[in-house]
Subunit: 230 residues, 2 copies
C-alpha cells in the first residue's frame, strides 16, 4: 500500500497542508489505497530518506517521490489504467497554469489572512519553529500580518475573479468532472478550512457552491478532516 | 471565404483589439482563409446584421457569429479535421480559466497602463466616442488613469506571476505547441504592442521570449501589424 506522509497539526487528523491535500485527492481520484502518516514540520529525520525535508512524500514499493506536482506526474504515468488526473498532454500543460495561479495568488493570499490561525492549530513541537521561520520570511510578527485582515480580505476576494468567472460557466475547472486543477485549487480552501474560522468567501460567492461539491467528493473525504467551515 | 470584422485604428493595418487578434490566430491555427474588414467603434450599422455592436464578428457562408469565445467554439466544432484549438473537452474547460484570467487580470492591467496611447492611435471618427464612454466607466480623465504608470507597472508585472512561472517550465501555455490559451494571452500583449511604446515587461522577463515565439508564428503574422515593440 502507498504511504503518504502528511503534515498534521495538534491532532493527527488536523491535516492542513494544501500540498498534501492535493496528493490525497490525486490518490483518491486514481482509486489507489494509501496509508497516511501524520508528520510535523520539525520531524525532518522521519522523511530524511526522501533526500529533502518537506511533505508530501509518497512511498510506493521501492519508489520514493516528493513534491506534489512530481507525485501527480508519477501517479499519472504509473497508473495509466486509472482515471486520468490531467487528461492528456495539453490538459496537463494548462493544469500547470492553474497550479501556478494557485501558488502565486491563492496561497500567498490565504497565508497572510490565516497565519495566526495556522499557528494556533500547530502541534506544540512545531510552534517555535513555525513562528521563527515565518517571521524571518515576513519581516514582522505573525499577529501584525493578520492585524487588518477584515480589510485585506476584500482585495483577496477580488483576486479570485478568474476562478469565480470560470465556475459561473462550468461545474469544475477541469470541465464536467473534477480533476487535478480542481484538487489543487480546492486544497487551498481546504487548508484554510482546517485551521481557521475566518470567512474567506462571502456566502453568496459562486465559489462556495463549487467548494461544497468538492467537499462531497469521495464520500465526503474533505468534510471528514478536523476543520471549521469555509 | 470567411469574413472577419476587426477593430482598426487610424490606419487600416492598426488592428489593436485583443479580442480580434485571438480570432485571427484561431483562423490561422485552423488554416482557414479569411478576409479582414477594418471596422471602427462608431460604425455600428456595418455590423448591425450580427444583432449586436461589437467586433470580432465572423461571417462564414450563411453563419454569423460574434464573441471571440463563441467564434472559437464554432470553428472547433465546424472544422474538426483541422488542428484543434482547444485539444479536447478538458483542455477547453482549462482554457476557459486562462481566458478568464486574461480578461479579469491582464486586460484591466494593460488597459489602465495604455489608455492614452489607445486614444492617440484611434481613427478620428472614434476619438470622441472612446473618450466619452471610457471616462464615464472610469470616473476620471484618460490622462489621470495613466498619470502614474511608471509606478503602476510594477504591480502589473507582479500580477503576471502565474504566467511567468508556467512559461519558465514549458514552451507554451498549451504545452509544446501554441493553442487557444496562448493566443488569448498573447493577444493582450499584441494589443499593447500595436498602440503603445510603453514597456509593459522588463527585457529579462521570461514572458518576453514567449512573446517573441508568438510573434513568429504563422510567418510572423503578429509582427506584420502596425505596431511598436513589446
Amino acid at each position: 500500500m502507498i504511504k503518504l506522509y502528511e503534515l498534521a497539526g495538534a491532532e493527527d487528523n488536523r491535516r492542513f497542508s494544501p500540498f498534501c491535500w492535493r496528493v490525497r485527492f490525486a490518490l483518491l481520484h486514481k482509486g489507489l489505497l494509501f496509508e497516511s502518516i501524520p508528520w510535523r514540520f520539525t520531524e525532518k529525520e522521519a522523511i530524511a530518506f526522501s533526500g529533502q525535508g518537506k511533505v508530501p512524500v509518497i512511498v510506493d514499493g521501492e519508489t520514493v517521490i516528493y513534491d506534489s506536482w512530481a507525485i501527480a506526474e508519477y501517479l499519472e504515468e504509473t497508473y495509466t489504467d486509472r482515471p486520468l488526473l490531467f487528461g492528456g498532454e495539453s490538459s496537463k500543460a494548462l493544469s500547470r497554469f492553474v497550479t501556478d495561479w494557485v501558488e502565486t495568488v491563492l496561497h500567498p493570499g490565504i497565508f497572510r489572512l490565516t497565519l495566526t490561525d495556522i499557528y494556533a492549530h500547530l502541534h506544540p513541537v512545531d510552534k517555535d519553529y513555525f513562528r521563527k521561520t515565518r517571521e524571518q520570511w515576513l519581516g514582522m510578527k505573525l499577529e501584525e500580518v493578520c492585524a487588518n485582515r477584515n480589510n485585506d480580505v476584500l482585495s483577496f476576494r477580488n483576486s479570485l475573479a478568474p476562478l469565480r468567472a470560470t465556475l459561473q460557466r462550468q461545474s469544475f475547472l477541469a470541465g464536467s468532472e473534477a480533476a487535478w486543477a480542481d484538487y489543487v485549487t480546492f486544497s487551498a480552501f481546504q487548508w484554510s478550512r482546517c485551521i481557521s474560522s475566518f470567512p474567506l468567501l462571502e456566502a453568496k460567492d459562486p465559489i462556495v457552491s463549487w467548494c461544497d461539491q468538492m467537499l462531497n467528493l469521495f464520500d465526503g473525504e474533505a468534510n471528514k478532516a478536523s476543520s471549521w467551515n469555509i
